[in-house]
Every structure is written in structure tokens, then in C-alpha cells.
Subunit: 300 residues, 2 copies
């Protein structure tokens, strides 16, 4: 069976649109008080981004034949957590960045206090969304989904990864240390997106869950390696965010630790490991395989 | 039946200790990576505060004969949300405060970035806690508890109240406008604490839930009115946080809108309304009544 690029692009585009619709519906109207806060939340969550995490949720949902309406809600919840993390990450006390997705960052467009509160409220909204719609036949399984997303966002997940990142400024990290940082900083949420998408459908057995988990870990790391390479290669204009910022901030990256050539090689190896993990799923994992390629090969 | 002050104090003290134990167990160890983040989370969440919200949860749990272990978890979750809001509220871009509960605020003791992440991670931990333990016999009811807390924390609740508060600096508010602000800023979480405590036990009928809700709304407002009066009367030393800060920041308060005498009168009226709302609950609402007195009469 030959799958053309066009077929995947059509699938991705349709599901990106679906997430946009879902996010628009979930976010409070900009006319609703407090207006500036709601404007800021919509400003950061709508109309931008590749929506990689929701796409992973949709693709994993195909593995378990999940209802696509349910996966859209789970995917939107993960994307709201991602959006909150970007807003806080861009604040002056963190990366102090002024450009994101080709637009002024939230605290530049609004102000720091509103950006802080918008991030806070986006996290709350993500959880609210995940709790208020029926996403699993068994409500206990849905509680486990809430727990999984909260844990992925928290101090042993994404927020913890940010803290490790802060502590790493100006420090030389080994490859395992760098990996530990990224497993938390970006990996935790990518893993959550994949697992939540799958959990919207039929239950996987322990071995299948482990394989899906292995896929998501490999792809999460690959995503970060590719980001580091792109950050070195690209210009601010093509990237839509400030390029070369990690190097400027004296932060360790896969490129600074390995060099560009070996970082690209590592991304390829991680892609291979990710694809291997999907072997048992057959055609149901078609979109996950295509996403792995999309993530790793996007700009090389 | 005569209830001495000592009896309530013993009850409150025992339940404050229980919450401290619960929070200590829920917070990641300070030895666990990332250590500074976990140290900061423990610094702000442990060893301070009157624990009014958890006490409300315990008292409401007595109305529905809830298991005290379950209520402790729900109360700790609410307290973690409260702790996160204090950390973010004290940041330089918000109230820029240096003193909280007699100690340096989190960003002074650590730094701004860690304070930001500690607040973020405390919110995640609150949700994780609420989702990972069995708190209701029916898991659907527990999902509704998660939804309730997330909504109370979000842009239509506490975070929204903060945004309204920001927009009100230097503005003359009417009493209804001030009330609208506080129903969100402090009221939403006090209401959530009360309702979550009750929901850990036997189901209330719609009329009972409405009465409990009326109680929590009145007591939430009374709490804020008393805070405003204390902020005017007290010194920084007795308050443990910077006194007179709202007036200095040119923020409207019940005292600036009504004057001290009428603000005290309003607090008394709200207490009366709160107590009236408990009429149908008999002796099961004893602790809620005592808490109403504790909140309103604490320092007048």
C-alpha cells in the first residue's frame, strides 16, 4: 500500500482544524469578563503551532479505534497545557523572549501580570476540559487520565524539566543528563498526549501500552533533538520564534553536546527505535509512523 | 449543649495537623530532583497559614458524614491551589510583596523563575492529588469534584478574580463591583473547599446543596471583608504579611468603599446570612457555624 505525502498532509490538516474548533469552543469568549484575561488566553492558544501533541493523540487514538470527538477533547487539553507552558517560559524571569509563532509573546502583547494569569488559567482550563466531558466508558479510567496529565505537567514532569533547564544554564551536561532534562521538559507532555489519545479507545494490554510508551519516549526525545538542530540551522523568520536562543543563553543542547552531524544521526536512530516500537500494531499505527517521520524529517 | 471555645480550638488544631501531615505526604521530597523546585514547593505549602479552606472542607464533610481521610485529601488539594495563588500573587509583576506568613516570599527566598514554576507545579499537584485517590464511591462524582476545583481556580474563578483585581487598581468600584471581584478572587476557592468536603460524603439533595452553597458564598465574602478590615487595622508584625498594602497599591477594598465601621457591620450581616443558610442541617453543621464565627470574629 503506497501512502503519499498528500494523504498524511490531508489527515494532519483536517485534525489540526478539528483541534482549532475544539480549542475555540473550550476557551471562554473574549467578550466574557475578565475580558483582557480571556483575550490573552485566546491569543496564545488559538491560530498557531503545528499541534504536534494533539496530532499524536489522534494518531494514538487510531490504534485503539477511539472516538475522534473524545480524542479531540483530550488533545485540546494537552495543547492548553502546552500553551500555558510557552507563555510562562517566555516571561522575563524565564527565557525573556519577545517572539513566538511569528507574533509578539503574550507578556509583550498584553503585560506580565496578564501573561502570568493567562498561563495559570490555561492550566486550570485544560483540567476542567478533561474532567467535564465523558472521555472513557469507565469514569475510573478517566480519573486516571486526569492524573496522568497533571503528573505530566507537574514537578516530576514538564515544570520539573523547566527547573532542571534553569539550573543547567552555563553548565556542561553529559548526554544522559541532557536526556533526563528533556524526558521531563518536552517528553512528559508528548508521552501524555500519546497515552491520553490511546486511552480514549479500547483498552490496550500491558505489553501494548509499554510499546506505545516506548514509542512516545523515543519520539519525545527525537522532537527535542530536531528542535535543537533547527534552532542552530534556522533563522528567526523561518522559525517564527527567536533562533539560536539556547546557545545565546548558554544552555546545553544536543548540538552543543554532540555537534550538528551526530545530533542529526541521533534523531534518525530515535526515529528508528520509535518505529520499531510500533511493529505489533500493524496498519492501526499508520498515522503514528507518519507522525514520527513528520517530527524527525520536518526541516532537515 | 454548651460548646466552649476550647472544644472548637481542639477540633481546629487537630484538623490543621492532619492537613499538614497530608500536605507533607503529597509534596515531593526536597531530596528528589529537581531539588530546588521541590524545596520551594514545600517552603510555601508547609508550616504556615490558618488552613481555613481545609477546615471548611472538614466542617462541610461532617454535614455529609464523610470519611475524614477522604476530606483530608480534598482539603489538601484546595490548600495547594491556595498556596500556588499566593506565590504567583506575590511576584514582582503582581503585588510585588516580600513578606508572607512572617517569612520572605518564595521569589525572595528562591528566585522569580523558581517561584513561577513552584506555583505552576503546585496547581498540577493539587489536581493529581484529587484524581489519584478514591474520594467518592462513584468515580463520576469524583470527576465532577475535579471539574469543580479546576473551574474554581480558573479564569471564571480565582485567576479571573486576580485579573479583575489588577484592572481595578486606581479605579473607584461600587459595592456590587467589589463583590463581583471577591466572589471570584477569594470566594470561588472557599466555595470549592466547602462543596468538595461535602461531596466526599453522602449525597445532598438539590435544596441542601443550594443552602451549603449560600453559606459558602456568604462566608467567602465575609472572609474578604474581614481581611480588608484587618489589613487596615493591623501592623505588619501581627499580620505576618505586609499590612496596608491594598491602600498603598490604590486598590479598592471594603474599607475604602464603605469605611471601617460599615465594613465591620457588613461582615456581621454576612455571618448572619451564612448561619441562616445552615438552619436545616442541625447539629451536623456545628463546625461550619463555629468556623463562620472564627472567620468573622478572628481579630475584631
Amino acid at each position: 500500500m503506497t501512502i503519499t505525502t498528500t494523504d498524511f498532509q490531508r489527515w494532519a490538516s483536517a485534525h489540526q482544524q478539528r483541534i482549532e474548533v475544539q480549542l475555540k469552543a473550550a476557551l471562554p469568549s473574549a467578550e466574557l469578563a475578565p475580558q483582557r484575561l480571556h483575550q490573552a488566553m485566546r491569543y496564545v492558544a488559538l491560530g498557531g503551532g503545528k499541534r504536534v501533541r494533539p496530532l499524536l493523540a489522534f494518531a494514538a487514538g487510531e490504534v485503539t479505534r477511539a472516538d475522534v470527538g473524545r480524542v479531540a477533547i483530550a488533545g485540546a487539553a494537552v495543547e492548553l497545557i502546552h500553551a500555558y507552558s510557552l507563555v510562562h517560559d517566555d516571561l522575563p524571569c524565564m527565557d525573556d523572549d519577545v517572539l513566538r509563532r511569528g507574533k509578539p509573546t503574550c507578556h509583550v502583547e498584553f503585560d506580565e501580570a496578564i501573561a502570568l494569569l493567562a498561563g495559570d488559567a490555561l492550566q486550570s482550563l485544560a483540567i476542567q476540559l478533561l474532567a467535564e466531558h465523558r472521555l472513557a466508558d469507565d469514569p475510573s479510567a478517566q480519573l486516571e487520565m486526569v492524573r496522568l496529565l497533571a503528573a505530566a505537567a507537574g514537578s516530576r514532569g514538564m515544570a520539573g524539566g523547566q527547573a532542571i533547564d534553569l539550573a543547567a544554564v552555563g553548565v556542561t551536561l553529559s548526554l544522559p543528563e541532557l536526556e533526563f532534562m528533556h524526558i521531563h521538559k518536552t517528553g512528559a507532555l508528548i508521552r501524555a498526549a500519546t497515552l491520553l489519545g490511546a486511552r480514549c479507545g479500547a483498552a490496550l494490554d500491558a505489553a501494548e501500552l509499554e510499546q506505545l510508551d516506548r514509542f512516545s519516549k523515543c519520539i519525545g526525545l527525537a522532537f527535542q533533538v530536531v528542535d535543537d538542530v533547527l534552532d542552530t540551522d534556522a533563522t528567526t523568520a523561518t522559525l517564527g520564534k527567536t533562533a539560536g536562543k539556547d546557545a545565546r543563553h548558554n544552555k546545553p543542547t544536543y548540538v552543543s553536546v554532540l555537534g550538528v552531524a551526530d545530533a542529526k544521526k541521533l534523531a534518525g536512530e530515535l526515529r528508528g527505535d520509535a518505529l520499531d516500537a510500533l511493529d505489533g500494531f500493524g496498519e492501526r499505527a499508520l498515522r503514528l509512523r507518519q507522525l514520527a517521520d513528520f517530527i524527525v524529517l520536518r526541516k532537515f
